[in-house]
Subunit: 247 residues, 2 copies
């Protein structure tokens, strides 16, 4: 691995350089297997020799054989993997995306990389094809988010846009959001199309978006002493998606 | 803060010393507020002066005023908080616990601290009073787990024991477990009492426990291209608890 390659990979840990180079990092064998089956474009593969030997298709791509110690040096993971891939950030055009006949997740300022990655994985599981994030949501292509998606980043379409514009444009759709004082989700009629807005970890859905919500939902607590104050946003997303999709 | 205090707090990051001293660390204002309302025993509070001024009840306890820089040095958090408390590890006697008329979560070798903490928080939300962990599950009192419980550690009874013994003893109860090929949870009759076993992040429920499962469950994927291979164990626990409790 050359000094320049090392420098490039290290720089991609920052959003600024990911955007400049239009590249992001995928680490690990499992995510690699999902990647090669996707339509994402592989720019370069850095892999140890036994991985290359066992995965002949590596040689179809631009690849560099590296030592385990070299991978370890540039890895973000506590247990470095046998392969690290540089992948092109795809151009996703929200204008050409049709939202009308399906459910879409809308994320308002999600900050924790693990939460965003887990939400992408949940959407993929429940067959939700599109996620729209506010511009201040954590960057999808940061290594921690990519890792937490466990490969689902290649199957779900994820957009960043001004959510006020989005919801204004779709104000005739059902727009759901979770609030402390919303309707009990277990007893509420839920549509099979529309938007489900999930709010920031600490502050919930912002007041500018609240006006667009047509149905406020909440997950009731079954804890009579009310010691549990809230659910983690990824956990809440899972329960809500489960309720929408199972019916 | 004395050198000995610093040394003690640092040592409590390791399970070995937590068990020796019978103490664990709670960091942060929010978890402190839950702690003082619980029946856990506070051994010592380390807090900055403005926190002590604003929280008079601190003075009812054994406390030490510290500088923010001192807290920062011993903190496990990226944003250190105004208060760090040493708390006694309670003696929980599983022999005197009555499991028959309620739902209990059983955790078979959960390894990720964030997952364990999140599961405790989910149990608290859904009013599940007892969690029983296998002896190889990550330690509840590690700082990352405590943090991830968001205070629910003080409300849920959590035991560590030999799960084979436990399930053998309760073999006449309903014992549920999630498997890839289980019955669709959305269509299955679910009891309001019994045990729900959740398995290890990578390997699921161990084969020694599988024989005790009376009903195998699974959360069906709604992704037709099957790109999502699994759900995170905390997310799966949330969906399963939601299904059991809502009915």
């Amino acid at each position: 691995m050359t000094k320049n390659q090392q420098k490039l990979i290290n720089s991609l840990k920052l959003k600024k350089y990911r955007n400049k180079e239009n590249l992001f990092i995928c680490e690990g064998v499992k995510i690699f297997e999902t990647l090669v089956k996707s339509d994402f474009i592989i720019k370069e593969i850095f892999a140890v020799s036994d991985f290359i030997d066992q995965n002949f298709h590596v040689k179809k791509y631009n690849y560099t054989e590296v030592l385990e110690t070299e991978l370890k040096k540039i890895s973000e993971l506590t247990t470095p993997q046998k392969v690290l891939t540089l992948v092109e950030i795809p151009k996703k055009n929200i204008e050409n995306t049709y939202f009308k006949d399906k459910l879409t997740l809308v994320l308002d300022n999600i900050q924790d990389p693990g939460n965003l990655g887990t939400i992408v994985r949940i959407a993929d599981w429940f067959g939700i094809k599109n996620i729209v994030c506010s511009l201040n949501t954590v960057d999808l292509y940061s290594p921690k988010v990519v890792q937490a998606t466990m490969g689902s980043i290649f199957s779900v379409n994820i957009f960043y846009t001004d959510l006020i514009e989005l919801l204004k444009k779709h104000s005739e759709s059902d727009i759901y959001g979770t609030f402390m004082n919303g309707h009990n989700i277990y007893k509420q009629n839920l549509s099979s199309t529309g938007f489900i807005v999930m709010g920031n970890e600490a502050n919930g859905i912002s007041s500018e978006l609240e006006q667009f919500i047509t149905t406020k939902l909440s997950i009731p607590t079954f804890n009579q002493t009310k010691t549990a104050e809230s659910l983690n946003v990824a956990v809440a997303t899972a329960i809500i998606c489960s309720e929408f999709i199972r019916r």
